[in-house]
Symmetry: C2
Subunit: 150 residues, 2 copies
Amino acid sequence: MQYHLGMADTQPLVAALDQAGYRLTETRRAVAELIAEREGHFTAADLVGEARDRRLGIGRATIFRALDLFADLNVLERLDLPTGEHAYVPCEPAHHHHVVCSRCGRTTEAQDHGLQVVVDDIARRTGFAIETHRLELYGICPACRATPAR
Amino acid sequence: MQYHLGMADTQPLVAALDQAGYRLTETRRAVAELIAEREGHFTAADLVGEARDRRLGIGRATIFRALDLFADLNVLERLDLPTGEHAYVPCEPAHHHHVVCSRCGRTTEAQDHGLQVVVDDIARRTGFAIETHRLELYGICPACRATPAR
DNA sequence: GCCTGTACCGAGACTGGATCTCAGCAAAAG
DNA sequence: CTTTTGCTGAGATCCAGTCTCGGTACAGGC
Ligand SMILES: [Zn+2]
Ligand SMILES: [Zn+2]
Ligand SMILES: [Zn+2]
Ligand SMILES: [Zn+2]
């Protein structure tokens, strides 16, 4: 089967599969392509629709399976948007947080320098033994700030 | 219609309705009761089940409508648990964050003293104009830490 | 290059959360 | 009390995500 796709950078995604010992199938490469082509965050439905439009013949369940897999490998992260939507963003495997543009949906990764102090402070005040945390930031990206609002 | 419910503190919930000019119906008072009785976070399905068990005759959609309403009024917050579940927690209207016990589900509110510095730092590094943020902390609460793990 | 075991795949049924519709009802105002 | 209209219950509907299962093709061994 041939998918005739473009040349967006699927390398990190495909490499993660390979490294973890998963099979590098045509279908997974195609999903990696669809992901790599995206600007900003996207939903599972977005990919399903895109695959259908291009007549790629990729099954619904397969796309969900691939998304789960990439998320498990930490090269894709699932965001819970304030709207309730579940969106995905490709990203680095290391711990980090996302800054999401509320106008165009593009995201950037951010290190949390200094956050540990805040977390420790909250742990002390509440008595909880904090195990993990999630920080999500919403705002307007540089590109959107430059345009005079849609 | 009479609901024969207990005496948990529904005051903040009901007051918020009143203050915002919504009707104080028996049904909404009943949902407020169900919410106020809860320990820790709960799902919409929890309330629907509870209402059905008690033969309160409250419709499914009505519970969802009430939850949305309370959330809009900022006296209830919707959490996106790491498991993907959508849970709710009653809370103060002011800006704050939640510390969630990953064993029993109880939550505590936390102020984010010092977080602003981190947010400003990220804004400077990324060039985003940050508008809002969400911080969720997961760990083990004092009560659960005291018990030798179930 | 060919064989083989098994991970993977597509189609479509299925589940369960959440929303919509609409006729009837009841809260609040006068 | 009467009127207005926001609110409600029942059930249809929608849709994201999962499951099943027969068939496929990847990767490793020869
Ligand atoms: Zn933008
Ligand atoms: Zn962090
Ligand atoms: Zn606990
Ligand atoms: Zn904050």
